[in-house]
Symmetry: D2
Subunit: 147 residues, 4 copies
């Protein structure tokens, strides 16, 4: 499993009249966390697009437990649980406030797509290679299958 933490401070624009972060802002926070997670692997989502691969989101789910408030710093934990085998990749997220309370948990699943023709494709090798060192067991299994 690969795990990365990204922190964001809640700005005024993000809070609604309940005094809570608007529920519809979390997908953006998830996106920022995904990007920083990919960057921590040694690439960036921009680098993936520059190599001709787009990753549109095909599914999300979020369970909201507690609200975040203005000016709080939230910690977005992002988990990659496996090296994607086929045409999509899932990022799992848990957001905590400064007291360590779980605010919400969710996921986003993205497809791999060739930018040139918008056709779905398998996980690109350059991304697989960046993930491999963090999934020794999975990498070994696949290696042995290929013998």
């Amino acid at each position: 499993m690969y795990h990365h933490v990204t922190q964001i401070r809640i700005c005024y624009a993000d809070v609604d009249q309940m005094g809570f972060v608007y529920y519809g802002n979390y997908p953006r926070f998830y996106e920022i966390a995904r990007n920083e997670t990919i960057r921590s692997l040694g690439l960036s989502y921009k680098g993936i697009e520059d190599r001709g691969i787009m990753m549109p989101v095909i599914e999300i789910g979020i369970r909201y437990k507690r609200p975040a408030h203005y000016d709080e710093i939230i910690s977005i934990h992002t988990f990659v649980r496996e090296i994607p085998k086929y045409v999509k990749m899932t990022f799992y997220h848990e957001i905590y406030n400064e007291n360590g309370e779980l605010l919400n948990e969710g996921f986003a699943t993205l497809a791999f797509m060739q930018a040139a023709n918008h056709h779905p494709c398998r996980i690109p090798e350059f991304l697989k290679e960046l993930l491999s060192p963090h999934f020794p067991e999975q990498t070994e299994q696949e290696a042995s299958k290929n013998l």
Copy 2:
């Protein structure tokens, strides 16, 4: 089942550099559609808050099938499948483009909460009464249970 359709035209702000509506904007579109659905029942979400009830979102899920593009008019179909029995209410959504193609489908589940003390509560009677005419079977069943 109660069914309502809301139309929205995609503005420039909502589209990303793929030329697609950013995935994180759909929860806002769902919110607009929920509100118009409640309004079509004879109230408004604002009217619910004015009566001391808040409805924070506690869960969402969205499956994205096709992208929406700039300047398109999307039709958001909202479905209420039953009169909520307890402390939460689910709205189901399907979004179609002008060609009748399904863009995405999802749901949002909201809790009923007393604004005064932030305690969860059952569906308020005034909302139940507005829904009842649209769920004759469910209303009858509950009436017979109360005999």
Copy 3:
């Protein structure tokens, strides 16, 4: 002068914890109003882009007088005061609430730019022709200059 009115209902996402529409949302409302103004002339901003012209915003100014609130319908009045002579075009806006109170007034100036090479250019003829019937005096003056 050309004048067009666009109405928008304020959604939950747009309101901050003061209970006011967040000041940073008005540029988006201005954009929607600009687009509907262009559409009312017989084109659309998308149509302009499809003809190879982009119109990035180069300057905005807004004076905020009164706040808008959740679920209110605001009326965005858009004014074009002249047919642009050179490489830019200004739209003036006034937003009113349902009581006819002025909420804010402002403007946005956009440049004409060739999409192909990102070079600035003059107002395209097809847009000039759509504006001309609404500016008879200006059109006449220019015609006489060309004699």
Copy 4:
């Protein structure tokens, strides 16, 4: 003069189909920069609201020179040019990209308002005191006037 720099990385949500940061997102970036500027003085905007003062924005102006792109880090320079004397305060901003190119410059003027009754008021003393060390000349002048 007081000067503070805040850095923000551009996320996917902020970029439009031109591949540029949508013009309407800059007021949010300005807000984040204002807040960090106030924080660098030893307070926070939240701290100001907690003391019963709200600061709604009453005017903004932005001149856009160059676009920002996805994944770039922008540096928002914020300038306070004087200790506000009356009921409003202006923050000046300049945004630069990683190459040191000016992307846009602008300002936001905020009013001081008592949260309790929404009446305008003068700059609160606690904020004046935090600014004073950075404006020795102005502080001296006012002190001499008070003799």
